[in-house]
């Protein structure tokens, strides 16, 4: 201990580099260890959450396959190149297509509102939505989860394609509470317009991007690939 007070000199660069190197190595090992040991649990959690969300908007589904819809058709997979849209095909117990689920996101009051919506090819409409994540005002914006009238908007939301199959025949639009007249409109929650509009915008953007690529290729995914 006395040598420390006798020679107060700067530590050599070698000592500093050596220490940092050892610390970095030890920490690197710890991080990689944590990552590897939690990897399977995290993946399982994510899969479970996705299944729960999709089964909720498309009741009767028993399994999910991830697809990517691009300009050249639909392919099974998880990598989403630019210009393509990811979606989930939900199959019932016999392997028949129950519906398609996709994510929609738009900026709400506080942060991005992410929802999952279920699309039924038979009626060419959206049959249900589920909120994936949001930070809207509790008691006001978060009513999009609980308000029965608002959710009823999405039991048969018309998202038919136009004749050229290049976009929606009528864009999905959120209108003021009580003024809904058309099946492609969403009646906003009174007092929660910003959040309601975000839901409408997100669904419109997603449907406009996904459906023109998906609908012409529906037959390819009608039954579950074994």
């Amino acid at each position: 201990m006395s040598s420390e007070t006798l020679t107060p000199q700067m530590s050599s660069s070698a000592a500093m580099v050596r220490t940092l190197g050892i610390v970095a190595t030890v920490c690197g090992v710890i991080i990689v260890g944590a990552y590897e040991s939690t990897y399977s649990a995290v993946a399982a959690n994510k899969k479970l959450a996705l299944e729960r969300a999709v089964f909720k908007v498309l009741p009767g589904s028993k399994s999910i396959t991830e697809f990517v819809a691009g300009p050249n058709g639909v392919t099974e997979g998880t990598d989403v190149p630019a210009g393509s849209v990811k979606f989930y095909a939900a199959y019932d117990a016999e392997g028949r297509l129950n519906g398609v689920a996709a994510e929609a996101a738009a900026r709400g009051y506080a942060d991005v509102v992410r929802i999952l919506y279920g699309y039924s090819p038979d009626c060419q409409c959206i049959v249900g939505i589920g909120v994936v994540s949001m930070r809207e005002t509790p008691g006001i914006g978060d009513k999009i989860i609980t308000d029965k009238d608002f959710l009823a908007n999405f039991q048969a939301l018309d998202v038919r394609l136009n004749a050229e199959m290049s976009g929606l025949a009528n864009a999905v639009k959120t209108v003021k509470h009580g003024t809904k007249t058309q099946p492609w409109q969403i009646d906003a929650i009174s007092g929660a317009t910003v959040t309601s509009k975000a839901v409408g915008r997100g669904i419109n953007d997603s449907a406009q991007a996904l459906l023109p690529k998906l609908v012409p290729n529906l037959d390819k995914i009608r039954s579950k690939a074994s």
Partner: protein
């Protein structure tokens, strides 16, 4: 999601989602340095500069890390880069503006532990902003931080001459002030479209 325009991102970070008053980032300096307007403003500017540098470096680092599938090193590399950026700013200030360097004192190295700086990097990564969007975000965030700091300092300077009940003096008063400012800023909601 329809990409947010640069203007929307900037205005959002500045007002509706102000880093300090809405997202609770950068509170330690907000409560610690906002006593005097003369120190609050330079502190805001210095922090904004570090935020900008952090944002640029984080963007580049993220590209590199995702290329090599090393995402789990993200946090550690961000914070190391931020610490280095702050060291750099310190050295530059010491050389070119020693008066300011002395005035900011201990608070300059403390920018490293400012949640707002790391927050910029983390949020822009989570929202997958492009390069220009990240720039707009860090500009808006820095401007918002400085704005909050300056507002707070102005009011606190006036309060020094007021008759405040003994129980409420000090940090409790600053917190109540901050709450009122935060409440006021909630009025900006929806401004960014």
């Amino acid at each position: 999601m329809a990409p947010e325009t640069l203007g929307q991102i900037f205005v959002n970070a500045l007002l509706a989602n102000n880093f300090v008053l809405a997202m609770f980032l950068g509170l330690c300096p907000f409560l610690g340095v906002s006593g005097r307007l003369s120190t609050a403003f330079p502190m805001g500017v210095a922090t904004s500069f570090v935020m900008l540098v952090a944002s640029l470096c984080a963007y580049g680092l993220n590209l590199l890390l995702t290329q090599f599938h090393l995402e789990f090193l993200r946090l550690i590399s961000y914070i190391v880069v931020i610490a280095s950026a702050v060291q750099l700013v310190e050295m530059v200030l010491k050389k070119f503006s020693p008066g300011l360097f002395r005035a900011l004192g201990i608070y300059l190295p403390l920018i490293t532990t400012n949640c707002a700086v790391l927050g910029v990097a983390l949020f822009q990564t989570a929202r997958e902003y492009s390069f220009l969007q990240s720039l707009a975000f860090s500009f808006g965030g820095g401007a918002g931080f400085t704005l909050a700091l300056v507002l707070m300092a102005s009011v606190r300077e006036r309060l020094e001459l007021s008759d405040v009940p003994g129980v409420a003096q000090g940090t409790a008063l600053s917190l109540m002030l901050a709450g009122l400012l935060s409440l006021a800023f909630m009025g900006f909601a929806g401004l960014g479209g």
